[in-house]
């Protein structure tokens, strides 16, 4: 792990070296256009460029197709739903299905529950994860390695294994069928501790030593030094945590018995079963789109930070 700690400085060194070589390189003429920094990377031949764009186009189509299909179904009239029929573009367009799904599925309250539960889970995971990650990264104590291994091992336990004992625990605590019951079991996430720890090991020792010289206690060091420096990793963990809790299906299925605390996937599943006698596919597609929106927004807003965060955690290169 020390190699990871040393990496940022290392990278800076490589950058300097390249600046020099880049300048000389042109004098003995590698076959490439001089200039733009991206131009330093040789362009692929035009043939492979065609292949590359073709491949990208196929990938993007495959990624978008189900969403476009959803949109088409939701916007079109019911008799157009499901079937491609003669015209792939719906004969008439309307937003009625969104309104129907919103009301029939109680999607408004479900979205609020989903967002609230996900944010509460995230807050707890950061509150428990950041101190633990700091301890694993920077506090030398006996048994650190084995304890960290125990944390990582919890990643391997399938959620279905813990579901029943957790249900018993939550019921015993009186939280069955409550929002607290939806949140508590996810209060600590080993993956979050791992990612945060990997990132924290890249903080230079001197920064932490300076904090200690200034007489900062552990908690103040955490708050004023470690957390601000770890923001990319915290952002990454936040996005993944939000996605996972918002989309969680099995646990709410067991715990949320009453419809007024249904999470979005439950509300959607309810919509599907309630309409199964005479399925209204336009309504289901509209519902699917509505409950997909929050995570899409989070992902798009956070995408740049996400890449930076993964990069610093030592998972990449």
């Amino acid at each position: 792990m020390t190699s990871e700690a040393a990496r940022p400085r290392h990278r800076a060194g490589a950058g300097q070296a390249s600046g020099r070589a880049g300048g000389r390189g042109q004098t003995h003429g590698p076959k490439r256009p001089a200039g733009a920094s991206r131009g330093a990377v040789p362009r692929w031949s035009s043939l492979s460029a065609v292949g590359r764009f073709g491949f990208l186009a196929v990938g993007i189509t495959a990624a978008l197709l189900p969403f476009l299909w959803m949109l088409r179904t939701a916007l079109g009239p019911p008799q157009n739903a499901l079937r491609l029929s003669a015209n792939p573009i719906p004969s008439s367009v309307g937003f009625g299905a969104f309104e129907n799904a919103w009301q029939a599925g109680d999607l408004g309250p479900a979205l609020l529950t989903g967002i609230g539960v996900s944010l509460a889970v995230l807050a707890l995971q950061l509150l428990t994860g950041i101190p633990a990650a700091y301890a694993f990264a920077w506090v030398p104590f006996r048994g650190r390695g084995p304890l960290f291994a125990v944390v990582l091992a919890t990643l391997l336990v399938p959620p279905q294994v813990t579901a029943v004992p957790n249900y018993v625990t939550i019921s015993a605590l009186g939280f069955a069928d409550t929002r607290v019951g939806l949140v508590l079991p996810f209060m600590t996430q080993a993956a979050a501790i791992f990612l945060l720890r990997q990132y924290m090991t890249t903080i230079p020792v001197s920064v932490l030593e300076a904090a200690r010289m200034d007489g900062l206690g552990t908690l103040r060091t955490l708050r004023t030094v470690v957390v601000p420096l770890s923001m990319p990793a915290i952002a990454t963990v936040s996005v993944f945590s939000f996605l996972l809790s918002f989309n969680e299906y099995l646990w709410p299925l067991l715990v949320a018995r009453s419809p007024d605390i249904a999470t979005p996937p439950l509300a959607l599943a309810g919509l599907a079963t309630r309409t199964s006698a005479f399925p209204d596919f336009t309504q289901l597609a509209a519902g699917s789109l509505i409950i997909s929106l929050p995570t899409l927004v989070v992902f798009v807003v956070a995408q740049r930070r996400l890449t930076a965060g993964i990069t610093g955690t030592g998972l990449a290169t």
Binding site: G59, A63, L82, G129, L156, L243
Partner: protein, 317 residues
């Protein structure tokens, strides 16, 4: 002596920092896992409070259970159909998307979509796409190449591959996100150095990019395998394990045995325990491989230090 007190202080500091996280992990993951391991030796049934210790009866039953054998085979097929293609396509998409200069954000947005999608919502949509009617989207598409309509989710031969396709669709996007982050982490200088040495195109991909991505690949391979071994939602929403158990995965079988029908939670726990052992073996293999990859990189000098050397040589010649 002074060191002893310092170590002692660190011990208390670590304990204070780790306690919140370990409360969460012990109460909701480690404890329940141990309880499950105990329950696996009993005939516990969810419908009644009574249970008896049955020793290895559940284990013997599991080893001889033809339905479990079928679920194991299905899971292996599912893994084979998802892990390698998703890692390969995710890598190729990341390589292609990284070079895009115009419309970069739009390309990434499209390819990020599947990873952030709600799996229940997507399963609902895929159910329509793979509708058995000749007018369903998938059947219309295969109709173009002269294939008769297929009952995708209702046929024993196609149900599992279709479920795997949906799972792989989502995984590919996740793999893409991680590889893209890995690619952005490779310093420009390494490519410049390779260029000076005349290493371009496919040779550069083979000798520079792929070796630098090796740790990411190992991580993804293990993580994606562990994820697919725990496949639940796609099966639950798309096929409910059918037809005739042809798409029942191990986790879905556990759910079926423990949470539906006979509610045999004791037997379900035993199967879960066996799965846990398998997952831990995969994880351990991955950890070993990851270590070897790191060591190999250092020995070969394919990494930043080696590339820096190449830059220096290029400058000298």
């Amino acid at each position: 002596m002074a060191q002893g007190t310092r170590a002692g202080r660190d011990g208390w500091r670590a304990a204070a920092l780790l306690t919140p996280a370990f409360v969460g992990l012990c109460v909701f993951v480690i404890g329940p896992a141990l309880v499950s391991a105990f329950v696996a030796g009993t005939d516990k049934n969810l419908t009644g409070p009574d249970f008896h210790w049955v020793g290895t009866a559940n284990l013997r039953e599991a080893l001889a259970d033809p339905d479990l054998g079928q679920a194991v085979r299905n899971t292996l097929v599912y893994c084979l159909l998802t892990v390698i293609p998703s890692v390969l396509f995710g890598l190729l998409l990341a390589l292609a998307a990284e070079r895009v200069t115009r419309g970069r954000a739009a390309v990434r947005f499209a390819l990020f979509l599947p990873a952030s999608a709600n799996i229940v919502a997507m399963a609902v949509v895929f159910e329509y796409i793979f509708d058995s009617s000749p007018e369903g989207l998938a059947n219309t598409l295969v109709g173009f190449v002269g294939i008769d309509p297929v009952n995708w989710l209702g046929d024993r031969a196609t149900a599992l591959p279709v479920v795997a396709l949906v799972g792989g669709w989502r995984l590919t996007s996740f793999v893409f996100v991680v590889y893209l982050a890995g690619l952005t982490a490779i310093p420009r200088s390494v490519y410049e150095a390779a260029d000076v040495d005349g290493v371009r195109g496919l040779a550069r991909l083979r000798h520079v990019t792929l070796p630098l991505l090796a740790p990411t690949t190992v991580f993804l391979g293990v993580f994606v395998t562990v994820l697919t071994l725990q496949t639940f939602e796609t099966v639950a929403v798309l096929t409910e394990g059918g037809p005739l158990d042809s798409s029942t995965t191990i986790i879905y079988y556990i759910y079926k045995v423990g949470f539906t029908g006979s509610f045999r939670i004791g037997y379900a726990s035993m199967i879960a325990l066996l799965l846990l052992v398998a997952v831990v073996l995969v994880g351990a293999a991955g950890a070993l491989l990851g270590r070897r990859v790191r060591v190999a990189r250092q020995l070969d000098g394919v990494g930043e230090p080696g590339a820096r050397g190449a830059v220096a040589e290029g400058g000298r010649s």
